[in-house]
Symmetry: C7
Subunit: 94 residues, 7 copies
């Protein structure tokens, strides 16, 4: 069982707290928009979204920073996921 996102949507999985500590990333933000780190686990096909062509820039395995409030949380087989539009992903952490 897995999630197959539509359009420009991307399924993310939060990184474990330990992994966060190891990478030394501490996330802060304003009350309105809290960026968060997560790993890409599924990527929509892109294509024509709202009449405009969208190319997917992220791939499975990327670690990304995204804006929390734009996503929807889903729990599948006891794993937690977040589904966001690619435009809500701010940056890839390399």
């Amino acid at each position: 069982m897995k999630l197959k996102p539509l359009g420009d949507k991307v399924v993310l999985k939060h990184l474990e707290a330990e992994e966060k500590t190891k990478s030394g990333i501490i996330l802060t933000g304003t009350a309105k928009e809290k960026p968060q780190e997560a790993e890409v686990v599924a990527v929509g096909p892109g294509g024509i979204i709202d009449g405009e062509k969208v190319n997917m820039e992220v791939k499975i395995g990327d670690k990304v920073i995204y804006s929390k409030y734009s996503g929807s949380e889903v729990t599948l087989d006891k794993e937690e996921y977040v589904i966001v539009k690619q435009g809500d992903i701010l940056a890839v952490v390399e």
Copy 2:
């Protein structure tokens, strides 16, 4: 008697509580946007929506995650349905 959605609209039917338990899907979300699981029972023809071409990506029988607050609930012949725009469907569960 059945519902034939217009344009990019999709008719969904909520999955039974038992089926939800079997698949192990637990849905959580923020107060603003609660994703929900449902089965596609009818799909609009797509076409030109707000002047942009929309191709329908979901088909009858797909199990999907959608954003609850964007849909309209309808009860027809004692069955409950939700009518959403395809853009409010986040992902297909496979």
Copy 3:
């Protein structure tokens, strides 16, 4: 005397309460958007609406589900009508 809607507008007439009972349709909805059943009594010519081509998908006699808050109520010759844009019609009931 009759109503001839402009552009993408559609004139609807509410179904009688008895007819509603016969068809077994019970309509529920969120507080923000109450879908309603009605019959199409007049259809605008479509054409270029807000600079985009709109084709009319409904026809006189169709029974439709629409979002109540987007329409305007009019009483003409003691009959009540609702005028909505076609985009506010969710589905045709067949």
Copy 4:
């Protein structure tokens, strides 16, 4: 002295209360949008409005239903007029 509307704007004159009674039209509406009946007394040239081509569908003498809150009231030579955009006209009464 007369009003010559610009673009897609239309000058309307309210029908007399007596005429309303004769035609048997009673107008009701939601608190947010009160449709009203009026006669078209001047029609703008249409053309490119907000970058989109607008063709004028109403003509002088048409009796129309419009959404009150989108118009501006003007009194000229002791006659009251309302200036609306054509898109705020819902239907022509025939």
Copy 5:
């Protein structure tokens, strides 16, 4: 010293109270949008505004009705002016 408006902007000068009485125009309006009469004293060049071609339909000397709240008031050499976008002009008074 004079004002040269940019783009689709138009400089208006309020008509004297006496002139208003002579023409018999009394302006009323809703609390949200008060139409006002004024004379055009300068017209922007039009051209591409927000990516769309705008042709100027008014000329210096025109008496126009406009929506007050969309304009900005300026006093230059003891004369009061209002600068509005052409789209906020409702009609020319002839």
Copy 6:
């Protein structure tokens, strides 16, 4: 050290109070939008802004009226500047 604005942005410098008196310009406005006079000290390159071509119509040295609330104030080397989009400039004072 100087400010080089991006895109359709323009750097303005408020005119001295004395200069304002000399030119006889007194600015008034509604509570929502206070127009202000300033001198252009730097002009962005224009180009494609939000996907639309923007040509810069103002040049260094122009005295302009702008809408205060759309700009950002910056103090550089003890001089105060305001950075606005060209679309927020209402008129050039000649």
Copy 7:
């Protein structure tokens, strides 16, 4: 470990307080929009953003003024960064 911004996004690093004093820049602003000075440390590839072509005008090392409330703050390896869209950068300080 570094941040690679997507699309039209830019990663900024706040200038040290000492450096601010040396350059003599004091930033003020309205309560709604506080401009801030920062150095560009990473630039997205630009390309098609919301269906429109965006060319990146800033480069690594540029000192820029931006609107604070549009950005997201991130701390990576004990360094603080802000991720903004290029459109939220007002000017380059030269």
